[in-house]
C-alpha cells in the first residue's frame, strides 16, 4: 500500500470523529455536564422511611433541581434513615424551618427529595439538620391500608 497524504488526512479525520463521538457521549448523553463538582454545602434530614431513594437522587425546591443525595445511612438509635444532601452554594437562602419530603416522579418513577421552604429568617448552613420531614410514600402500604379499610367496612355491616 502506497503511503500518501490523502491517507494521513483520512486517518486524522477518523481519529477526530472518534474523539468527537466520545465527547458527544460525555456531554450530550451523560450527566457529566449537569453536575460537575460545583461549590456546595451539606445538609441532612432524618426520615422514618426513605423508600426507594438512592444516592445521586435529585433534591428539588419547587421543581428546580438544587442538589443531590450523597449518602443514606441508618441512625441506630432512632432507627431512622439519615439522608445527607449536597446543595449547590448558589442556593443559600433556604430558611431554617424548611421541610423535606420524599416524592415519586410519576406513579412508578424515580424518587426524589423535595424541600419546601418555611418562613424563618435564619438560613440553612453547612451541616444543618432539617427537622420537619415527611417519609416516602410506599405504594404497598397505601394499598394495604386501602384493602384493610375495605375489610373493616365490610365487617361492620
Amino acid at each position: 500500500m502506497q503511503h500518501s497524504v490523502k491517507q494521513d488526512t483520512l486517518v486524522g479525520l477518523f481519529v477526530a470523529t472518534g474523539i468527537a463521538a466520545l465527547f458527544f457521549m460525555a456531554m450530550q448523553i451523560s450527566n457529566l455536564s449537569a453536575f460537575s463538582e460545583t461549590e456546595s454545602y451539606t445538609i441532612s434530614a432524618a426520615f422514618e422511611n426513605s423508600g426507594g431513594l438512592k444516592v445521586k437522587s435529585p433534591v428539588v425546591v419547587g421543581g428546580v433541581r438544587v442538589g443531590r443525595v450523597v449518602a443514606i445511612t441508618l441512625d441506630q438509635k432512632k432507627f431512622q434513615s439519615v439522608v445527607t444532601m449536597k446543595i449547590e452554594s448558589q442556593y443559600d437562602q433556604l430558611p431554617e424551618d424548611t421541610s423535606a419530603s420524599i416524592f415519586t416522579a410519576g406513579l412508578l418513577g424515580e424518587q426524589y427529595v423535595s424541600l419546601e421552604p418555611g418562613g424563618m429568617d435564619e438560613v440553612l448552613v453547612n451541616n444543618s439538620i432539617i427537622d420537619i420531614t415527611q417519609p416516602a410514600i410506599v405504594l404497598e402500604e397505601i394499598i394495604g391500608k386501602f384493602l384493610f379499610k375495605d375489610n373493616d367496612a365490610e365487617s361492620k355491616e
Partner: protein
C-alpha cells in the same frame, strides 16, 4: 481406549503449548510497541487499513441497530405508557453493551480476519523470513504497528457506533414515532452516568480491541504457511474473537455493573 486417552492428552498439551506461544508472542509485541512510537507513519498506515476502512461498516451498522432499538423499544414501552423512557433504553443498551460488543464483533470480522490473512500470507510467501534475513524484526516492523492500530481504533469505533446508534434511535423515536424530543435527551442525561456507564463502555472496548488484535495477529503469525492453513487461521480468528468478546463481556459486565 488407550489410543483415545493419548489423543486427548496430546490435544490438551497442544492447546496449552499454543496458549503459551501466544502469551510469549504478546510479550514480544508489547516490548516492540516502544519502537513503533518514533515511526508514526507505520502506525498511520495501519490506522487507515484498520480504522478508516471499518468506519462505514461501523457507522451504518450502528445507525441500523439504533433504529431497530428505537422501533422495538417504542412498541414495548408504549404498552406501559412509558415511551418517554425510550432515550434511556436506547442509550443504556448501546453505551453499556451493544456499542462495545457489536462493534467488536464487526471489527473482528472486518479488520481481524484481514489482519490474519495478511500476516498468514506474508508468512506463506516467506516475506517474514525474508525480513529476518535483512535483520529487520518482523514483530517490530509488521506486527506491533498493527496491534497498536487495532487497540486505538476499537474504542473510537465503539464510541462512533454508540453515538450514531443513539442518533438513529432519535431518528425513529422522535422524528417518526413522535416521542417528545426533550424527554428523549433529558431522561437519558439524568439516568446515564459518565463514570459508571460511558467510561465502563470505553474500558470494555479497549479490552476488546486488545484481545481481537492479539488473536488476529497471533493466528496469522502462527498459521501453517499454505493456502489452506491461512484460510483455517482466518476462520479461527473470527470464531475465537467472537468467543473471547462474548465471554469477556459477561465477565466485565459482572465486574462493572454487578454491585448496582
Amino acid at each position: 481406549m488407550i489410543h483415545l486417552l493419548t489423543q486427548l492428552g496430546e490435544k490438551t498439551r497442544h492447546s496449552f503449548t499454543k496458549l503459551g506461544r501466544s502469551s510469549f508472542f504478546l510479550q514480544q509485541i508489547l516490548i516492540a510497541i516502544i519502537d513503533v512510537l518514533p515511526r508514526p507513519h507505520l502506525l498511520s498506515k495501519q490506522l487507515y487499513a484498520i480504522g478508516v476502512l471499518s468506519f462505514f461498516l461501523i457507522t451504518i451498522s450502528g445507525l441500523f441497530v439504533g433504529m431497530v432499538l428505537g422501533l422495538q423499544g417504542y412498541y414495548i414501552l408504549s404498552n406501559f405508557g412509558a415511551d418517554e423512557a425510550l432515550g434511556v433504553m436506547v442509550a443504556t443498551s448501546l453505551v453499556r453493551e451493544l456499542g462495545p460488543v457489536v462493534a467488536a464483533l464487526l471489527f473482528a470480522g472486518r479488520a481481524g480476519s484481514a489482519l490474519t490473512a495478511e500476516i498468514g500470507l506474508m508468512k506463506a510467501t516467506e516475506q517474514l523470513s525474508g525480513m529476518e534475513m535483512m535483520a529487520i524484526d518482523p514483530i517490530k516492523r509488521i506486527i506491533a504497528p498493527r496491534f497498536l492500530a487495532g487497540f486505538i481504533s476499537m474504542p473510537l469505533l465503539a464510541a462512533l457506533f454508540s453515538s450514531v446508534g443513539i442518533l438513529g434511535g432519535h431518528l425513529i423515536g422522535v422524528n417518526l414515532l413522535g416521542v417528545d424530543e426533550g424527554s428523549y435527551w433529558s431522561q437519558m442525561q439524568t439516568s446515564l452516568d459518565f463514570y459508571d456507564d460511558i467510561l465502563n463502555g470505553v474500558i470494555k472496548s479497549l479490552i476488546f480491541g486488545f484481545v481481537i488484535s492479539w488473536i488476529a495477529l497471533f493466528e496469522g503469525y502462527d498459521a501453517i504457511p499454505t493456502s489452506e492453513g491461512v484460510s483455517r487461521a482466518t476462520t479461527r480468528t473470527v470464531v475465537n474473537s467472537a468467543f473471547a468478546i462474548l465471554g469477556l463481556d459477561f465477565i466485565l459486565t459482572a465486574l462493572m455493573f454487578g454491585d448496582i
